[in-house]
């Protein structure tokens, strides 16, 4: 399950990938079977997706999860 309060700062180029395919947030949300607000939250870094959602993104864009998401260098909280 994803996290509403990300402990790891994860960067994503999701908005760029979406724009390259000329998709709106709503359209991408429909493809991924999530809400538009969830897509928006992921792009802003306010929400880390669950493993299942990350794999769905990976399959949709035809890229590995690491190409879509990466941990921000030197800037994550230890808990």
């Amino acid at each position: 399950m994803g996290s509403l309060k990300p402990k790891l700062k994860i960067e994503t180029n999701l908005s760029l990938l979406r724009a390259e395919r000329k998709l709106t947030q709503g359209q991408l949300a429909e493809e991924l079977q999530v809400t538009r607000a969830t897509v928006n939250a992921m792009e802003k870094g306010d929400y880390n997706p669950s493993l299942e959602l990350a794999f769905r993104l990976s399959l949709f864009f035809g890229m590995s999860i690491h190409e879509i998401f990466k941990i921000k260098e030197g800037d994550y909280e230890n808990n």
Binding site: G2, T35, T38
Partner: protein, 202 residues
């Protein structure tokens, strides 16, 4: 969702404001001679009877509906959607619902403990027939005190007694009757949930 559940839900929802107004109106005008004579003169007794039956039917349907919520997951989800305005369409919304419910649970628990503490406070007022001299040498006609009294089986919230020239009154309860208290708790529960959920949706 079953038709009977849909009907019950809408019957309860639409009937709620009317029932509240009717109950307030009935309690306000009860034993009012002018209203009694109006009802008898214009032969509206039948209408009052119908209104009473509708209120009883509403109470019965609500009671059955609340019992069914305990045993039906579909019904619980429907009621939850209506009250929380969150549909749990995806994982993120499910997490929001969970976080908000957790916050509301803890907030309500804290509020209950606070109310329990308040309910134990006792306000006492004494009035002396003959002014008495205090330890500081002043003449006092009475005293006021705030104390702590935990007695869950005592149903009397207000007591008054007079003996040996001293009138004493004590009040030990919340300044709300049970209905008012329940309404306050319902508002607090729903409000605390929405307050937390809004944070994630802003």
């Amino acid at each position: 969702m079953k038709t009977i559940d849909k009907f019950s839900f809408w019957f309860i929802g639409l009937g709620f404001p009317f029932v509240v107004i009717a109950v307030i109106a009935i309690s306000f005008f009860l034993h009012n001679d002018a209203v009694d004579s109006f009802v008898k003169h214009y032969e509206t007794t039948g209408a009052w009877g119908v209104l009473g039956c509708l209120i009883i039917a509403w109470v019965f349907v609500t009671f059955v509906f609340l019992l069914r919520i305990l045993f039906s997951e579909n019904l619980r989800n429907l009621v939850f959607k209506k009250f929380s305005k969150i549909e749990e369409r995806d994982e993120r919304e499910m997490e929001i619902a969970g976080e908000s419910a957790k916050f509301s649970f803890i907030a309500n628990l804290a509020f209950w403990f606070f109310l329990m503490f308040l309910s134990c406070l006792t306000l006492g007022v004494k009035k002396y027939e003959t002014p008495q001299i205090s330890t500081s040498g002043e003449k006092k006609g009475g005293t006021m005190s705030v104390g702590f009294n935990f007695n869950p089986i005592n149903t009397k919230s207000f007591e008054m007694k007079k003996e040996n020239g001293i009138e004493e009154a004590s009040y030990n309860a919340l300044p709300l009757n049970p209905s008012g208290l329940i309404i306050l708790l319902i508002i607090f529960q729903i409000g605390s949930y929405h307050l937390r959920a809004r944070k994630f949706n802003s």
